[in-house]
């Protein structure tokens, strides 16, 4: 456990003691802020009863942040260690493969959640100026953050996997971006397909990130989508672990 905590602290340190970490936070904050400017303009023109969180998720900025920030956060995790050779020094200490994968993933997740904190500030500003308490309650905000957390888990585990495949950070970022956009497009496909009882359509419907996030943003937590995110996250973490272990294969 103490080895895991040491690894976790070190990984967090590389996020918070480096300029790249703050650039990512600044970029996420800027995009969040821009989306709220757009959102407030819309609100000014057209009063609505829809919760602010639901409107926010509907802007493209939200998905832009998810799709762009996760590859940037995760690209360094394994690729840099492999390129610098520190992967060798790391893996010849008493650490276990699973500890390394989990520590890197959780540190990335922690950093990702920190990068989303400015969103709370935006929500409070909206609440203050609209004087509409009902538009923004604990449940919708909680649901939204749960959604952000789960989507983050999925995309970050995907990024971990991409980073473990290569020595080049650029390649890692591109692989995870392409995989992420692919997953995201499946959601579009699900939207475009007419609802039917066919197995393929129903399977694709599970990948509809849009609808799932829509529920979360309204404060509705659907266990089906929670299970979807948790299992896919575990799948990609497992794949990452296998890649890390693969150097021991004969």
């Amino acid at each position: 456990m103490s080895i895991f905590l040491t690894l976790f602290r070190r990984e967090l340190g590389t996020f918070f003691f480096s300029i790249t970490g703050y650039i990512i936070i600044a970029a996420v904050t800027a995009l969040t802020g821009m989306s709220f400017v757009v959102l407030l303009q819309n609100l000014g023109n057209d009063p609505t009863t829809v919760p602010v969180t639901e409107m926010f998720y509907g802007t493209y900025y939200f998905w832009l942040i998810i799709l762009l920030s996760t590859p940037l956060i995760t690209m360094r995790l394994f690729a840099l260690e492999k390129a610098a050779g520190t992967f060798e020094t790391l893996m010849t200490t008493s650490v276990g493969d699973a500890q390394v994968v989990l520590a890197k993933f959780l540190a990335a997740l922690f950093f990702y959640m920190v990068a989303w904190l400015p969103l709370l500030g935006c929500l409070f500003i909206v609440r203050h100026f609209t004087r509409q308490v009902a538009a923004l309650d604990v449940h919708t905000v909680g649901g939204m953050y749960l959604g952000i957390f789960l989507i983050g888990c999925l995309f970050l585990s995907l990024g971990c996997f991409a980073s473990s495949l290569t020595r080049s950070q650029m390649a890692a970022a591109m692989i995870s971006f392409v995989l992420g956009v692919g997953l995201f497009s499946l959601g579009f496909l699900a939207l475009a397909l007419p609802a039917s009882s066919e197995t393929s359509t129903q399977v694709i419907a599970y990948f509809n990130l849009f609808n799932q996030m829509h529920d979360f943003a309204r404060g509705v937590v659907d266990t089906r989508s929670v299970i979807f995110y948790v299992t896919t996250t575990f799948l990609f973490l497992f794949l990452t672990l296998r890649v890390v272990e693969s150097r021991r294969w004969k």
Binding site: I3, T6, G85, T89, S94
Partner: protein
């Protein structure tokens, strides 16, 4: 301490290490010598437990490095090629981090970090960022990292590469001071280094161990071919006649020097020492003799001779 038997490591389509066997006793400093690509680094990576062998077994302290990987890793301090470090960390912070990863407790790691920093001369730079240190200091940080958990076996892959002569001397002295207490395996292609530090040399070539002995023994083995150099002032014809008539001389070579002197390079038959004979001859004929030496083969000659076929093929 180390028992390697029939170790083979194949990468996709290429055999890096081909069926090698050797043992290293506790407390020995052994040098792994060989040209680039001979399989030194691969051997060390397998020893350190980073990669498994394709076939064969490697045991450290009686434990198999693959099956008892955790326990073996605890006993090994490994510094890979090019000494990879985290450039963004501070020296003390890095060593502490490494000590914790190697399973030392909080207090133990603090004490050990202090000890190795003193041992490696790092106390002045404890708060400096590693990326800003000179190469010599970085190398010492790498060494301190290998030593921090007080391992029984220390594996150093080219520890003095890229250092200036002064830094090399410091690092060498440090490694030499480890003898007896720790077993050390060093890879290098710098020959004087091995002669100075190591009790035993393993010469690797094309993935095989081609020679394994003490530097002195290797030199003795080669002494049979050692030449005697004599500088004598005499008429050239007399000298030639003298060497022709001397049964002990297998081959000779004359080079005129300044004045009347000739430099004679004599190769003895059966490794006999020619010096007394040459002196007797000079006294008999009243020749002036100003130099008489036997050239000893340095490790370099042995190395060149042992690794020659490969070099020629490559050319």
């Amino acid at each position: 301490m180390i028992e390697v038997s029939n170790l083979t490591k194949r990468y996709a389509g290429r055999t890096a290490v081909n069926d090698i066997s050797f043992t290293v006793a506790r407390g020995e400093i052994v040098g792994l010598l060989g040209p680039n690509g001979a399989g030194k680094s691969t051997t060390m990576r397998v020893l350190s437990g980073f990669m498994p062998a394709t076939s064969g077994t490697v045991r450290v302290g009686g434990l198999d490095v693959f099956h008892d990987s955790d326990e073996v890793r605890r006993r090994i301090g490994y510094m890979p090629e090019n000494n990879p470090l985290y450039p963004d960390m501070r020296v003390r912070e890095y060593l502490k981090y490494r000590a914790r990863l190697k399973g030392l407790g909080w207090k133990k790691s603090r004490d050990r970090v202090q000890t190795v920093m003193e041992q490696c001369g790092l106390t002045d730079v404890g708060r400096r960022v590693i990326g800003q240190l000179s190469k010599g200091y970085k190398q010492r940080v790498g060494l301190a990292d290998a030593l921090v958990h007080d391992p029984e076996l220390i594996i150093l892959d080219e520890p003095t590469i890229g250092l200036d002569p002064h830094q090399i001397r410091t690092v060498r002295a440090l490694i030499k001071s480890l003898a007896g207490k720790h077993t050390v395996l060093i890879s290098t292609h710098i020959l004087p280094e091995v002669e100075m530090m190591c009790g035993r040399v393993l010469i690797m070539l094309d993935g095989r161990v081609v020679a394994s002995d003490t530097p002195e023994n290797l030199q003795r083995r080669m002494a049979g071919g050692s030449q005697v150099i004599a500088e004598i002032a005499a008429p050239e014809a007399d000298l030639r006649a003298a060497w022709e008539n001397l049964a002990e001389v297998l081959q000779y070579d004359l080079t005129p020097c300044e004045g009347e002197f000739f430099r004679c390079a004599l190769t003895p038959r059966d490794g006999k020492d020619l010096r007394p004979l040459v002196f007797a001859l000079a006294r008999q004929n009243g020749w002036a003799l100003r130099e008489l030496t036997r050239s000893r083969h340095s490790l370099e000659d042995i190395y060149v001779q042992v690794t020659k076929p490969a070099t020629e093929e490559a050319e």
